[in-house]
Amino acid sequence: MQKNNVLTRLMRNQIFIPVAALILLAIFNLIMDPSFFKITLGYNSVGNPVLSGYLITILDYGSELAILAIGMTLVTAASGGQDISVGATIAISGSVVLRVLCGTNSRPETLQAPIIVAFLISCVAAMLFGAFNGVLVAYFKIQPMVATLILFTAGRSIAAWINNNELPIISDPVFGYFGGFIPGIPIPTPFFIAVACMIVIALVLRFTNLGLYTQAVGINENSSKLNGLNPAFIKFLTFVILGLCVAVAALIKVSRISSINYSVIAKDIEMDAILAVALGGNALSGGKFNMAASILGAYVIQFLTTTLYKFNVQSDALPAYKAVVVIILVVMSTPVVRSWLSEAGKKIKGRTSQKAKEVA
């Protein structure tokens, strides 16, 4: 009886979904090829120690997605919609970083500005574009997906225009640290950046009312207004925060190859970010959210991607596999299936005391 309760409580917990997905994937890999979990310590071309292996690859490449998932969770919770322009704004933000670092010459021998300055300017730019989306959604009350469609369409052209459609390349090895390794530290830097973002958001949620307010607005805008909140401002704020997340992710992206390709950088990443939120068990219609579950969801998606690459699945077929995951998740979260499942559960356990808990 006691055990059963723990199990059901665990099942009820939102984070159960991504954890279960993670365990499923891990078991699959363990059966198919245990060498998936092998991690080796080697030395890279400049003689610094680096860890390598599939698990490290997951931590490395999943980082941008985890960072985006933070902002996307807040936007989803407050506005009940998603921002589909994050890929395009990553292109803009990345373009700004390179523009500041390169100045007018697209192949500079030395950096024209400190990296931190370039990054801060790109943060401001990305937050401005976030604010643009936020204004459309919060004050003009446009459907988030429609409002962000504007930048989704125009963003990559704007990114190209920022650099006069040139292709800047940074030769300074220091710039590569953000998407690679810091000398002497064998763990990929993107993971540290992601962890830093997680700590910041954890502190913010712990010590401010941001979490409470976004959920209140997402659950019922009118009642939150009656309770003295300003729903429009809170929605606006979540889009600006997402803008900041975009700037951080963009820095990692451009640092990885020390260059940018406007038309393909972070292509389709918005869909992965939304999927991470959904995989975290968060209702895409807004309201309550679980940040840790979203972040874990992001790493689960990268786990899936890396697994598919390992088994040589054609990379243009990857979206199809992700689509299957989305379909399962969406169907599972519909009220029809939920009530059916809980009915079935009741019958199996022969108990009727469980109160139906509304998650949606």
């Binding site: 071309s45 125009a154 190859i257 990379s315």
Partner: protein
């Protein structure tokens, strides 16, 4: 209320798309006509091209056209840019009405050109296609100047054969599946792998011209511990992504190193990598058609005839051991 919102949204979307257009034209200059000051003996050409912002290839192509068709060279040129076929056709109709002597066309789409080219023929406008072919009767145009992607692939594979490796274990990173460049460049490698048991593909994946995807594909092979000694990437961007993965894992690449790196398109930065011997080979996709067109127009103007309709351009392959700074300056795009 709802209607108002919809109106607002469409208005803001329109305003934004206008800004977008403004951006494009500020760098490219839509439909700029050269002033016909000296008049008379200038040859009037109307040039319809794809948007120069599309790719580095297109930017180089447009620059080359602008440099060739100047008044100093005896031309009065008008330019129109679009990635959309219907807009290109409208531009072509306008050029025909303007009474150009030659219509130079890089069509966005292969279909739909018959009627407008017939109009051109009736009006005595001669049509020359460059870079892209169209599905229309050969009688409707004078010549077509194109790249032979299959030959680009063969040149690259022949070069690789000459390297005399005892075994070829190739990571093959493809472009967007179905594109002409992908088909041509893949075909030659596939044929060689099928014909020679010393050649094998460690992996064959499309990275869709995307450096990040290429990096992940190569990363995955490295993680698996499989041996490889050649990276055959179908464009420079993807080769760059692959090399980023190699660098991370301490796998040496370039002239005399563990892994041979091959790219295509001859971007200037890629040729510089060759010059630094970090890469081994880069295959050209020649965007410089203007001189070929100039020659054709000169031949036609002097009353001569062309020996063939389809002219395939010379395309080089650069070897890192032989490339010079001059090559980088002349052929880099």
């Amino acid at each position: 209320m709802k209607k108002k919102l919809v109106a607002l949204l469409t208005a803001s979307a329109m305003a934004l798309s206008l800004i977008g257009c403004g951006n494009a034209s500020s760098t490219s200059g839509n439909s700029t006509s050269a002033p016909a000051s000296s008049g008379g003996d200038l040859i009037k050409v109307g040039i319809i091209n794809n948007d120069p912002n599309e790719s580095g290839y297109r930017t180089a192509n447009d620059k080359d056209m602008k440099a060739m068709f100047t008044e100093a060279n005896g031309y009065e040129a008008s330019f129109a840019y679009s990635l959309k076929n219907d807009e290109q056709i409208t531009a072509a109709q306008k050029f025909i009405q303007d009474g150009v002597d030659y219509l130079l066309l890089s069509a966005a789409d292969t279909a739909g050109w018959d009627s407008v080219l017939k109009d051109a023929q009736d009006a005595g406008v001669r049509v020359i296609l460059f870079d892209r072919t169209i599905d229309a009767s050969e009688d409707l145009y004078e010549a077509s100047i194109v790249s032979d992607m299959a030959k680009e692939g063969e040149t690259a594979v022949n070069w690789l054969k000459e390297q005399g490796l005892s075994e070829y274990k190739v990571i093959h990173i493809q472009g967007v599946m179905g594109s002409a460049a992908q088909q041509g460049r893949t075909g030659a490698l596939d044929a060689q792998v099928a014909a020679d048991s010393n050649w094998s593909l460690v992996t064959q994946q499309t990275a869709e011209w995307n450096a990040e995807k290429a990096q992940q594909i190569v990363q995955s092979v490295i993680d698996s511990g499989e041996a490889f000694n050649v990276i055959y990437a179908e464009n420079d961007d993807m080769a760059k992504g692959a090399v980023a993965a190699l660098d991370k894992a301490n796998i040496s690449h370039g002239v005399g190193k563990d892994v041979i790196v091959m790219g295509f398109d001859c971007n200037k930065w890629a040729l510089q990598e060759l010059l630094a011997q970090n890469w081994n080979y880069d295959g050209q996709c020649n965007p410089f058609q203007a001189s070929y067109i100039d020659e054709i127009i000169k031949t036609l103007e002097s009353g001569g005839t062309l020996s063939e309709k389809t002219i395939i351009m010379d395309e080089k392959g650069f070897d890192a051991t032989k490339i010079t700074q001059d090559d980088v300056d002349n052929y880099g795009i």
